[in-house]
């Protein structure tokens, strides 16, 4: 994440530090750079004098009242470095947490409120998301909870509490549009509602900070509000300090083109974002002319709050399905005898203008080294695994959405049926999508289709006419929103279907198919790693390949921290990308003839990759065709001076590209503390000056007196 600027704060504290960094659990805090809202949640609004429009959908409001000041909970502090006459030593009942140093004292003074921020994102025509309105952090008194919609107009900040989960989950919530990314659809009916729950609030721009409070953050703030009741001092007030200063707001650049020119934002994407792998590895030296079957999934999601977007059903369930299918297929023998080449592709950036798929297609056209081994003319079929995490009434029904009608698609549908039959399970159903649908649902296949309308492809989803996922692209699309058995079923289907498609018809006997089994415990492990914070990316499966930087997987695509032409720096590649690369490389690999040599030093031959290069000395050199592909907008390029430029539109593909960027920011956070009146401060200063002057006068008087006494001689 860019750390290219520092927020201008008028804070003149000597020794006051911003303490909301370096807390390991919450993702937005362990990166210096750097994110359960529904109509039924309570929200805390802090009003201001000037009126502002308020977005609809928020039903409960709080008003400010001249709240009695609040005193923070204090803890024991005994200054243990001070041996003699401890001048002030206070003990609270029960809690013997002692303050042992000045930094401890500061930590008690400033209570960090755990939360996920909503940041400012920009595109070519404007901006969305949230930001502090000005250049500095601002503070407002924390109000009592009450219902007063009169104040709805005067909003300066929104804090969303994590309410009870069951209440939220009843209705469903999706902050994106009703037809997400409709501009990329290869068909005309863009008024069709794939996502009827979609409210579109994510797509609006807000000039005040919005934070989603975590459970602990909610409790902290509720403590604050309840202490309000008990407090009688008029010269102190409790405030919440919002730090959501966005560089684009400060510099006045309000769309992608200007902010990229000024350097106040960075484009979304990743230099090594998407991953593809071939099973079995491609022998580049030999002449490959096998037709290619692409299996596609995506790894990124989006949400109103940048750091809380697991994207469990959409699209991670598809990703896990793909990984499990690769695992199942990798145990087969005779993969080299398949008549078609299987290539597995995981895109990132799909939620923000299909960055991964469109860039991949561009790289294919350019025959760049990222896609060496794939000939775009040989791609016969594209199978995309979309959201596959839902079970209805115990039956796992999957729908195949077909792009165009062709013999190849029919062949695939037959293969799917055959695969399903071979699974011999009553609970798995597969059917073609309703023909009254206007076409394929929002998916990476749309990019393929727009590029070449004769592409054959199907998208496997758990829904037919509208999304089954009630929390599409929201922070509530988490582990509880998916069913692992559905993912296992989808993976089995896909694995067997691919085998059927890739081998000649004669070979797809039932016995061969029954050897393809998906490891359900692998699916469970992947769910725990990719959709949970505990164990999260510290799970064993991930740690076998990489050293993760964070625990909580954030499936947000992130920004491009480096230029595409530079030598790639592994530090900028996201944990999930690195994990997927290593996983796929491992599963599709063939071991080298000689013993595995130390990686990455001795692993430079053609076709060789080093798995687990990050684990000190435990890297394994194997033969595998697994590569990273950049994922960023096809309309962006870097000029000689390292500045991103938006190129003119030169193909029909780029026309709709909104070129998403994210504003630079320094630190994001929310903290609460008590402040004194300025009047009280002045009183203290006056007191100090008075004491000093009085002492001076007293000394002068005594001295004169003593001299007088001595002179009476």
């Amino acid at each position: 994440m860019p750390v290219t600027y520092h927020s201008l704060t008028l804070q003149m504290a000597i020794g006051s530090q911003t303490l909301f960094l370096n807390q390991s659990v919450n993702p937005f805090r362990n990166v210096k750079r750097r994110g359960e809202s529904s109509r039924d949640e309570n929200t805390l609004l802090v009003p201001r004098a000037t009126a502002r429009p308020l977005w609809s959908g928020v039903s409960d409001f709080l008003s400010i009242s001249p709240s009695p000041p609040w005193i923070p909970t204090s803890s024991t502090f005994c200054f243990s470095l001070l041996p003699s006459f401890i001048s002030l030593s206070m003990v609270t009942e029960g809690d013997t947490r002692s303050l042992e140093s000045v930094p401890d004292l500061e930590k008690s003074m400033y209570k960090i409120v755990d939360g996920y921020p909503c940041v400012r994102l920009l595109n070519l025509s404007g901006e969305i998301g949230c930001s502090n309105p000005g250049r500095e952090k601002f503070l407002y008194k924390v109000p009592k909870l009450s219902d007063d919609s009169k104040f709805a107009k005067n909003v300066v900040g929104v804090l969303i509490e994590s309410g009870s989960e069951s209440q939220m989950k009843l209705k469903g919530f999706s902050p994106v549009e009703k037809f997400p990314q409709a501009e990329f659809a290869p068909y005309r009916s863009i008024n069709y509602e794939w996502n009827p729950i979609g409210s579109g609030i994510m797509w609006k721009s807000y000039n005040f900070p919005i934070f989603l409070l975590s459970q602990s953050g909610t409790m902290t703030l509720q403590e604050v509000a309840s202490k309000n009741e008990n407090n009688k001092k008029s010269y102190t007030a409790d405030v919440a300090e919002f730090d959501l200063v966005m560089q684009t707001t400060k510099s006045g650049t309000h769309d992608s083109e200007s902010c990229l020119k000024e350097g106040t934002c960075l484009p979304l994407g990743g230099y090594r974002g998407s991953v593809w792998s071939s099973l079995p590895p491609i022998n580049v030296s030999s002449d490959q002319s096998k037709p290619v079957i692409l299996t596609v999934a995506s790894m990124d999601s989006a949400s109103f709050f940048r750091d809380k977007s697991f994207g469990a059903d959409s699209p991670i369930s598809g990703l896990i399905s793909l990984m499990a299918a690769v695992d199942a297929l990798s145990h087969l023998d005779g993969l080299n005898d398949l008549s078609k080449q299987l290539v597995f592709l995981v895109f990132t950036g799909e939620a923000w203008g299909y960055l991964g798929s469109r860039r991949f297609l561009l790289e294919l056209d350019l025959h760049s080294e990222f896609v060496k081994g794939i000939d775009s003319t040989l791609i016969e079929m594209v199978v995309e695994i979309g959201s596959v995490g839902k079970v209805f009434n115990g039956v796992k029904t999957f729908f195949a959405h077909v792009a165009g009608v062709s013999s190849v698609s029919n062949e695939t549908l037959n293969a799917l049926q055959q695969a399903k039959d071979s699974l011999k399970s009553e609970n798995i159903m597969i059917s073609t999508a309703n023909s009254s649908n206007p076409g394929i649902p929002p998916s990476s296949l749309m990019s393929f289709f727009r590029k070449n309308s004769s592409t054959s492809g199907i998208v496997l989803e758990d829904f037919d006419a509208t999304f089954a996922n009630q929390f599409y692209h929201s922070h509530l699309d988490d582990l509880s929103n998916v069913n692992s058995s559905a993912i296992v079923a989808a993976a089995s289907l896909v694995a067997r279907t691919l085998y059927i498609l890739a081998s000649d018809d004669k070979d797809s006997s039932t016995s061969a198919l029954s050897a393809i089994n998906v490891n359900a415990s692998l699916v469970e492990a992947l769910l725990g790693c990719l959709l949970n914070c505990d164990p999260g990316l510290s799970c064993e499966l991930v740690k076998n390949y990489i050293t993760p930087r964070t625990n909580c997987p954030s499936n947000y695509v992130g920004v491009l921290l480096e230029e595409p032409s530079a030598t790639p720096y592994p530090g900028y590649v996201s944990d999930v990308s690195r994990f997927i690369w290593n996983f796929l490389a491992d599963r599709t690999s063939i071991s080298k003839e000689n013993a595995a040599s130390a990686c990455p030093k001795d692993c430079r031959n053609e076709g060789e990759v080093c798995i687990g290069a990050e684990l000190d000395g435990k890297g394994v050199c194997v033969i595998s065709t697994t590569r990273y592909v950049p994922a960023y907008s096809t309309r962006l390029m870097v000029d000689k001076s390292g500045i991103w430029k938006v190129m003119a539109v030169n193909s029909s593909d780029s026309m709709e590209d909104p070129v998403w960027t994210e504003s630079n920011w320094d630190a994001l956070g929310l903290r609460v503390y008590t402040v004194q009146n300025a009047a009280y401060d002045r009183l203290v200063l006056l007191g100090g000056l008075a004491v000093t002057l009085l002492a001076y006068l007293a000394i002068l008087v005594s001295r004169a007196f003593i001299i007088k006494v001595l002179k009476q001689d």
């Binding site: 003149m12 000597i14 020794g15 005994c78 401890i86 008690s108 004491v691 000093t692 002492a695």
Partner: protein, 255 residues
């Protein structure tokens, strides 16, 4: 704008010391040296004490008596050190060096009464050094957060901000230390047992009085009580100085 408050707290704790320094100490270089060496000595004493007590700290206890032991031992050590300070001063005096220094230091032909006030000034400077060391160590070192935006109240003394309480207590102790040294030096010089005992006793009692702050709401009683002792010290010192000066004067006029 709590830089204002921070400066205010610092002035409350150290303002009178500053006044004393500016009006009395800074006139005579020797006194400045005395203040500095005294400050250094007391800071070293605190470091030694913290070294000794390091093994037992932090005191994770809600009982008050471990703090009492801490205070008693520390004050006992410091009073011992005060005696040592006196002995060093006497040594310097006995070796005759003090005469030379005082010659340079007195701006008139030395007369007994100037000699007396000069000695008192040295004692005062020594006490000031002690007081400043106390204030810096126990109050100023904690004051950096006071310059930030937030303030802090402690559960058990919620009437005043923590920094203010800290500054007030520091001021009381500065007063006690500064004038105690004058009383003590005079007591050792005269052999006056009353004065010699007065100082350690007041110091110890004042130290123990701070334990009252451990109780909830205790600082409402503790701080005024502390100031009572500070006033007591100040008045006793004043009485003693008056007595000595009038004695000298009567001796002068009598002879």
């Amino acid at each position: 704008m709590t830089v204002i408050a921070g400066i205010g707290y610092a002035l409350i704790a150290l303002g009178p010391s500053l006044s004393l320094f500016v009006s009395v100490v800074s006139q005579k270089p020797f006194l400045i040296l005395t203040v500095l060496s005294s400050t250094l000595l007391w800071l070293i004493s605190l470091i030694v004490l913290s070294g000794v007590w390091r093994a037992f700290l932090p005191l994770k206890t809600t009982a008050w008596w471990p703090y009492a032991i801490l205070i008693i031992t520390s004050i006992a050590f410091q009073e011992g050190l005060r005696l040592l300070f006196w002995k060093v001063y006497k040594y310097v005096e006995i070796m005759g060096r003090l005469e030379d220094i005082l010659d340079a230091f007195a701006d008139k032909v030395s007369k007994p009464r100037l000699f007396l006030t000069d000695k008192m000034q040295i004692a005062l400077a020594g006490g000031l050094g002690h007081g400043v060391a106390h204030a810096v160590f126990f109050c100023l070192s904690l004051l950096t957060p006071a310059f930030g935006r937030a303030t802090f109240f402690v559960d058990r003394c919620s009437q005043l901000p923590f920094f203010l309480v800290s500054a007030l207590i520091a001021l009381a102790f500065v007063t006690i230390h500064t004038f105690s040294m004058v009383i003590a030096f005079n007591g050792y010089a005269e052999g006056n047992k009353m004065d010699q005992i007065f100082v350690p006793v007041v110091h110890m009692v004042a130290g123990m009085v701070t334990l009252i702050n451990l109780a909830s709401g205790g600082c409402v009683i503790g701080i005024p009580l502390l100031y009572f002792f500070a006033m007591l010290t100040l008045m006793h010192c004043g009485k003693m100085v008056w007595r000595r000066l009038t004695e000298t004067r009567s001796r002068q006029s009598g002879s």
